[in-house]
């Protein structure tokens, strides 16, 4: 059945809340169905105790989720936008991610933080950021970045069932994208990169919103006789370095596309990890396509200039293939 990305999230949460009564959802305005298709209908089905509106107190309610997790529940947080997580990152990075280790294994923190993010809809500098790269440096936290409805559903279910804190990134520009997804229950393991299209000449590693840009780029490239493989890591902590490297060893060329800024982005880590495994196979330096290193302007044209797109990917591919 065709479902949207938002519907996929909705189904995953709905089914998991049916399955396990310890699962509950918190966030600003989550109890109002009309606010987002991702949470529509949940409060009607599960009540406002389990689908719980919060005050605008990001630090407070995030910490409350951590505490509830410590005491045996399985909270899902809806952050509405990852940008707001700057206010609560202490509870995630200093507490949730470290607690188990720091307390010598006495607790586990089965917490999912759903973090919608990204640009492309003129929301300006403080409402368009991609911050997943920060969370790579946080051992104890898993980071999931789905690129389409089908993966989103299975990965969200895996996240909810995981006994560790999971940051679940949702690119907002994907919310209305549709895809055939199997109905009912399925999970997708972490650290399993997914090959979205096979190819021989170059590997395009796309993250989140950039998988579709890689796919369009690959289509265009096909027309000029370049066969690109598109691969999606799906989780970045843990990262399927072997899966990604195998593709690059095969194609001997690689471009990495992400929506975050280039400087210090996830692409840097992916690049660094695979270069050490593929060094002797590589015919050219790995290129990164990412947002320009400026804040995301609200203005439509300027925002377009800043964000990555399939043309920029194509041009990077040409640079790589023309390298000498």
């Amino acid at each position: 059945m065709e479902i949207t990305f938002a519907e996929a999230l909705n189904q995953a949460m709905f089914e998991e809340m049916e399955r396990d009564e310890k699962v509950f959802l918190m966030g600003e305005d989550v109890a109002l169905s009309e606010i987002s298709p991702a949470t529509a209908g949940l409060s009607e089905r599960f009540g406002t105790e389990r689908v719980r509106n919060t005050p605008i107190s990001e630090l407070g309610f995030t910490g409350a989720a951590v505490g509830a997790a410590m005491a045996g529940y399985r909270p899902i947080l809806d952050m509405r936008r990852i940008d707001f997580m700057m206010l609560s990152i202490d509870q995630i990075a200093n507490q949730a991610a470290k607690l188990r280790y720091m307390l010598g294994g006495q607790v586990s923190i089965p917490l999912v933080i759903r973090a919608p993010e990204g640009g492309g809809i003129q929301n300006g500098p403080t409402h368009s950021q991609c911050l997943e790269s920060w969370f790579l440096q946080v051992p104890g936290l898993k980071v999931v970045v789905p690129s389409g409805p089908k993966d989103a559903k299975g990965l969200l279910k895996t996240s909810i069932r995981d006994d560790n804190p999971v940051l679940f990134i949702e690119y907002r520009q994907l919310y209305s994208n549709k895809e055939d997804a199997q109905e009912g229950d399925y999970t997708i393991p972490f650290a399993s990169a997914s090959t979205k299209k096979e190819g021989q000449d170059i590997t395009l590693i796309g993250l989140g919103s950039q998988v579709k840009n890689c796919m369009s780029a690959a289509e265009e490239l096909e027309k000029i006789g370049i066969s690109a493989e598109v691969i999606d890591p799906r989780t970045i902590s843990p990262l399927d370095v072997d899966g990604l490297s195998a593709s690059v060893v095969k194609t001997r060329n690689c471009v990495i596309a992400e929506e975050g800024h280039k400087h210090g982005g996830v692409g840097a880590e992916i690049l660094a990890s695979i270069q050490s495994k593929c060094f002797s196979s590589l015919k050219a330096p790995i290129e990164r396509v990412a947002a320009l290193d400026v804040p995301i302007p609200v203005q439509t044209k300027l925002e377009k200039l800043v964000l990555p797109n399939s043309e920029k990917i194509i041009s990077a591919v040409k640079d790589v293939l023309n390298y000498s």
């Binding site: 630090l59 407070g60 707001f84 206010l87 500098p125 403080t126 609200v298 203005q299």
Partner: protein
């Protein structure tokens, strides 16, 4: 100091309120026509708060506001054409089209910006207050925020900081009873947010935020106090937004009842002002005419202004 007020000031106050109303109505109309880049949050219904306070400020006093900041901006004297151009995403906009509606600022007029992260403006306002404290020129800064923002930790930290350092900062909470779809009765543990002033040993007062003169009265005391170096005040204006929160929610029917909405519409701050300020029908027409012309000019300016050039994307990042 009692608040003496001249006939001329009456007119200015009323006209400022009309200016906000007209700007917002126009902005909303343009938004629906797809002329506005990004989202907007209009403040129709809340004009008495912005004008009541800002009519008492000098140009070298400061304000900081929120995502719902057009009203405060206009009341503080922000240039309308450049403001409209910002909504249009033009290079002539106040923020050169980079910040949009949620970041309107006109520092030349003492407007230190709308800030889109709820609650983030209060710490920054404390800092502007600290600068004024250092400067010793009797300047004051007013920070506007919503009932929702009053549950942010930044509120607590900033109130405490301004109190212990006796900074000239006025905390003005526009309690419009909702934070997005969430009722203040649900999200806030107290009915009157102004009682929270007690936690910081500063005056706290709740005022009818639909009555510009009442707001002025209360704000005046707070401003005097701040100018004398006696520290901050927390003011809560009870008010209501006549439109939905932002782009998509209806005026009523979803999380607000029609009867509630009707009740608040009856005390429209413009009607209250007309009566209390004794604005005659002729004067009213005169003010509206002036304002409508200004708004039309602002729109024309915005329409005719160019988009930013590609190079501008790299500008203004570093000083």
């Amino acid at each position: 100091m009692p608040l003496n007020i001249t006939k001329e000031q009456f007119g200015k106050i009323y006209e400022d309120m009309v200016r906000i109303r007209c700007f917002e109505e126009k902005a909303y109309e343009l938004f629906k026509l797809g002329k506005v880049v990004g989202g907007i949050h209009v403040s129709v219904g809340q004009e008495a708060c912005s004008v009541g306070v800002c009519s008492l400020l000098n140009e070298n006093d400061g304000i900081l506001t929120t995502h719902r900041g057009h009203g405060h901006s206009i009341a503080k004297g922000t240039r309308l054409p450049e403001m409209m151009a910002e909504l249009y995403g033009k290079t002539t906009g106040l923020c050169r089209s980079k910040g949009g509606s949620m970041h309107i600022a006109d520092v030349s007029k003492g407007h230190y910006g709308a800030h889109s992260i709820v609650g983030s403006n209060m710490p920054m306002a404390s800092g502007v207050g600290l600068a004024y404290h250092f400067e010793k020129k009797q300047q004051v800064v007013v920070v506007f925020f919503g009932d929702g923002a009053a549950n942010q930790g930044s509120f607590h930290e900033s109130m405490n900081l301004c109190s212990i350092w006796k900074l000239p900062v006025i905390f003005f909470c526009e309690n419009n009873h909702y934070a997005s779809s969430t009722q203040v009765e649900y999200a806030s543990s107290v009915e009157d947010i102004s009682v929270r002033a007690q936690s910081y040993n500063v005056p706290g007062v709740t005022v009818n935020g639909m009555d510009v003169l009442e707001v002025r009265e209360v704000a005046n005391e707070a401003i005097e106090r701040a100018r004398k170096g006696e520290g901050p005040t927390l003011i809560e204006g009870k008010t209501y937004r006549f439109y939905g929160h932002s782009r998509s929610d209806p005026n009523f029917g979803l999380y607000r009842s029609e009867s509630e909405w009707e009740k608040w519409k009856e005390c429209d701050p413009l009607l209250v002002a007309e009566e209390k300020l004794g604005i005659s029908p002729e004067e009213k027409i005169k003010h509206w005419d002036i304002v409508e012309k200004q708004i039309a000019e602002a729109v024309a300016f915005a329409e005719s202004s160019p988009e930013p050039s590609d190079e501008e994307v790299f500008e203004d990042l570093y000083a």
